[in-house]
Symmetry: C2
Subunit: 221 residues, 2 copies
DNA sequence: GACATCATACCGACTGGTAGGTATCTTACG
DNA sequence: CGTAAGATACCTACCAGTCGGTATGATGTC
């Protein structure tokens, strides 16, 4: 079955990666609490012996899965085509377009592990909550960097007319995405997520639209 | 509802209501799967005997709790002051302001039971998913009614320049709210929710801002 | 109004399956 | 051989759901 063992150089911890990838899908489908470690083992084609060799326990797996998910996402967005757009405003809009483009397949394939887990675990599993918070914030921070550049490119600076920051707008994009996943799960249909991203794009377009009165009557401090 | 008693003035099924109210808080804190029926009984000051007298099982409680939550929310919004604003645009913005105003107390006191449950249960508990979907859609529909009136008041009609509908915008508001709760749970702080509602308000303000080029050059079809 | 009857509400000990975690054994590899 | 990886069997706590029982109060009948 796991005859890949004859090629040790392939991956240092191939089984651990299998368990983590299995966890990504199963937890996003069933939630953290309802997921049994045997479900994950089954999905990974391994047994509990292997599982408890690599992880201290279920909570430990959840924290590792959150990190794994975050690393996968970082790689995905780093390689995305929109990253090479020269205009930072276009990069911000390209991010939204890309998020819309990856709404493919079943819900557990594109929804967010972090948002799924933190809803159940925020009160009862501090370590899981902290991990989810950290990686969500990390992703938001990356988005905020483009937003900050876009603001600079359009001459937008927080003042009396701009009472929002790059950080708050970045978190807003994440709220829209997370919330759109909640609705998609309720409806068993990702179409609502795409509609939400259209609204988000419209908001961003207008925030960064040139030659509005947004820079205020006296941009100089 | 179940007024089989000949003395309906005595609270009918006070214990059932206690269990439902307990469920609202406990499930929003711990999530559906991790909540034990004994947790709910304890919180309600009752025993499992009473619980299983009133509900067929845990899933049955979840569905009833969803309906109960929806009914409570309907009452809350129906009585809210913004409801009596004459301008429908002001009612739409007042809705957002009201949602921001009720971000009080601990997270389980103001977050959404429907969004919490549907994330864990959408794949494994069809009846819970359907209930959450139904009541979220019902609330969104109520918001959409004000939005439709606001569009009419501003002369906005879906055309080449308005490629969104009252329904899609209403679901967008719900996505923002749901997502803001996810972030608030991750951060253990509702401040991010308030910031998100500020962004949402800004978007709505601008969609309904009078005398923009939004009605398009040729509003006639 | 007294009594029998019946339904509703509620209690709490018990059970049986489940699932997280452990202990032990086998195998592969350097 | 020693260590890491993984399989199998097992243990134990937990928890949804059951079941026999009690209390209360409504209803019917004489």
């Amino acid at each position: 079955m796991t005859a890949t063992r004859t090629h040790p150089e392939v991956a240092p911890h191939e089984s651990k990666a299998k368990l983590l990838n299995a966890a990504l899908y199963v937890i996003r489908a069933r939630g953290y609490s309802a997921t049994r470690v045997e479900d994950i083992c089954e999905s990974a084609g391994l047994t509990k012996g292997s599982f408890f060799h690599h992880f201290k326990g279920k909570e430990d797996l959840a924290v590792a899965a959150a990190e794994h998910f975050s690393a996968m996402a970082d790689g995905l967005f780093a390689q995305a085509p929109y990253r090479s757009l020269p205009d930072p405003v276009e990069r911000v809009l390209g991010y939204v377009d890309f998020r819309k483009a990856i709404l493919l397949g079943d819900l557990p394939e594109f929804t967010c592990l972090l948002g799924t887990m933190v809803q159940e675990a925020y009160e009862t599993h501090p370590r899981i909550r902290e991990a989810c918070d950290r990686y969500i914030a990390s992703h938001a921070h990356a988005v905020a960097a483009d937003i900050a550049a876009a603001m600079a490119a359009r001459g937008l600076h927080p003042n009396l007319n701009i009472d929002w920051t790059a950080e708050s707008l970045a978190f807003y994009t994440q709220a829209v995405i997370q919330g759109s996943f909640v609705l998609a799960k309720a409806q068993r249909n990702a179409a609502v997520s795409a509609d939400c991203l259209d609204h988000l794009r419209r908001y961003l377009e207008q925030l960064f639209r040139p030659s509005q009165s947004q820079t205020g009557p006296s941009p100089s401090a």
